[in-house]
Symmetry: C2
Subunit: 400 residues, 2 copies
């Protein structure tokens, strides 16, 4: 983490537009002084929100200068009117900033099926454009929050090579519910001052997303709005990085992975109603796919997640989840550990003392469940949270 | 439903063995006076409980005379000791009844990973054998309950042809948690006095299970112990039914489907913490597989199920679940109805009045959600329940 989240070349602003009666920051603006090199990854859900439809189109140029973000209303399942509203928001933003309309994007999160309240956007966009500042990224992180309880910011700073300029990456994210592989209801905006080509950004981003946002799960649901946008201002100076095999590209990819993973862990730790962050590690699987399947099945099991909530080392539920995952293994050889302390060996409870000790570990806010299937060499890791009473409270009440 | 659940040829008994300190009926016995024609379907989970391993072996003969059932302890993940205990329970049962050991089966449900308390079984099995009665099936239904709040019994009575004898089928089931396709933690025992061949029973049972127990979902988890056993005493008289294409076989299959479907609906209505029984109907899918995928994804979505709990017609969550299901459709044509009243048309909310009306319907204990994907002709139906605060309470505390 870095203390100053600002990134050279970028400015930010956020305000209260009062969307759906919300009395918190709900609209934010991210602007790059020149068209930035840019790449994005969007939801795989067949139902695509209007801003996602627009975003897919505009990101093709590999250049982007402004992103207007809002919470409260997802602008999903809103038909032609929703798409026109998304375009209009982008146009208003471009006009206020005096930039090319094609350089502006919008990103929305919130309730599905309601139209954006355009009068409110018309009122606030010009205000946002004149209140931009280098240091307001934390306010944008607040403006995209829905059921998140804390804003999520991460950053890294490093030289990509010994004699090169210092490069910075700062990112924000929102998450909370509908968190699942394939990007869930989550938005993330990542800014860097690195001088790097759009093609390289486009090649790098999916890998970073795969190892971070696609490795977390809160409730197995995925959303219509998921978006990760990466923008590079080039203001760090130095030659443009455009060779994927260069040490600079590798160093930048490493920084990017760190930032996306940091944000992903912040999202799952702040999952709706979550009281615990649990890393589910599977090793000894026959194939990578089976390792991931086994880890995801355990990490998504409602029975396992309620046991996490109750600090109950209910290894039988873990075995049952592994057994239905599709991974091939011999249950009589399975080893399960909680924070490196063995709970199950050869498919059986190690001892009552081991069970008591695991219960104590599980009462902490963070622990790792390690499962060794002893069938092969493949491993995978998924990050999840517990399923608490508050998850149900939040989601039975969300719209009221 | 029939008032007398007894079936000619069968006797039943149940008692309090005090397993894990339980102070309710926890062991039951089902006995047929002669070896019955029998068939069974077991869990598809890779992790198989000891009684399942034993059952798979013994059911191959197509004959069965006694089933000893217990709750509290699942005898799963219990290794060689667990398998020896299952065999020992069957042997004690056979000895007490003076029948061939191979004709006795055991079936267990409860906590995974603990050994059966054999001293208690040794004490109660002889007692059960001398207290058998024609009318005690409801007590056996009570003895298999875990987190079930009500016992589950269903029956049908009919002539298989006009001039044939009256035939009866009675079944019991237990369910509650880990209910999901592929039979979940559920046990069901179905008795009939029909005179029907083991081969026909074996051919018929999977279809009945597929259209009933495999169509319900409580929490997406499946268990290590699932078992459905069907036994026929032949006491109704008449010729043995052994031609699958005969009208009698079709009539019997129809009765069997009715009983299994009745029991399945009782299970999901009594799902852990469930306050509502919801039928999710998908039509207009391109293929049967896509119809089922779409229905299951909606029926399993934690966000949709919490909205059911909150009586919130949150159709955006339904659209998002459909969108990630893998079914191919145009979201802009989707129709969603609650109890035949349209909530969404062409992928958009019909009106605020329709939303209020749907909220009222969803406040009832039972309703049907119908989704028309308007992509083809295929349809599927899945039965689910809501995800309530009590589901989390029950499962965070189950072992304590």
């Amino acid at each position: 983490m870095i203390s100053d989240s600002g990134v050279d070349g970028f400015e930010f602003a956020a305000c209260r537009a009062g969307l759906r009666g919300k009395d918190e920051l709900d609209v934010g603006l991210i602007v790059c002084r020149q068209p930035a090199a840019a790449a994005a990854v969007f939801t795989t859900n067949l139902v695509q929100a209007a801003p996602v439809i627009l975003g897919r189109e505009r990101i093709k140029s590999g250049r982007l200068q402004a992103v207007l973000v809002n919470s409260a209303i997802a602008n999903a399942c809103t038909g032609d009117e929703g798409l026109a509203n998304a375009r209009r928001c982008a146009a208003l933003t471009a006009r206020a900033l005096d930039i090319d309309e094609e350089m502006a994007l919008v990103s929305s999160t919130g309730v599905i099926g309601e139209q954006l309240e355009m009068a409110r956007f018309e009122a606030v966009i010009p205000e946002l454009a004149v209140s931009l500042s280098h240091s307001a990224l934390p306010e944008v992180a607040r403006a995209v929050m829905t059921t998140d309880t804390v804003p999520k910011i991460a950053g890294r700073q490093s030289r990509l090579r010994v004699d090169g300029p210092e490069v910075k990456i700062s990112g924000i994210a929102k998450g909370a519910g509908m968190i699942m592989p394939n990007m869930a209801t989550m938005l993330s905006f990542i800014m860097t001052d690195a001088n790097i080509s759009p093609v390289l950004l486009r090649d790098m981003l999916p890998g970073a997303v795969e190892q971070s946002f696609n490795r977390i799960t809160v409730d197995g649901d995925t959303s219509t709005n998921d978006t990760v946008i990466l923008m590079a201002s080039g203001r760090s100076g130095g030659r443009e990085i455009n060779d994927p095999d260069s040490p600079e590209a590798a160093a930048f990819a490493g920084m990017l992975h760190d930032v996306t993973r940091d944000l992903a862990l912040q999202i799952v730790a702040d999952g709706e109603g979550a009281t615990k962050l649990v890393t589910v590690q599977v090793r000894g699987a026959l194939t990578d796919a089976e390792a991931e399947l086994a880890a995801r099945t355990v990490a998504d099991s409602a029975l396992v997640k309620t046991a996490f909530f109750g600090s109950d080392p209910n290894w039988g539920r873990i075995m049952a989840a592994l057994g239905r995952s599709g991974a091939v293994f011999n249950p009589a050889e399975t080893v399960i550990s909680v924070d490196n302390s063995e709970l199950v060996r050869e498919g059986r409870l190690v001892s009552a003392a081991a069970e008591r000790s695991a219960a104590q570990t599980m009462a902490q806010k963070k622990f790792t469940l390690t499962i060794d299937l002893r069938a092969g060499e493949a491993a995978a890791e998924i990050y999840t949270c517990d399923l608490s009473l508050d998850y149900v409270r939040i989601n039975a009440d969300y719209r009221t």
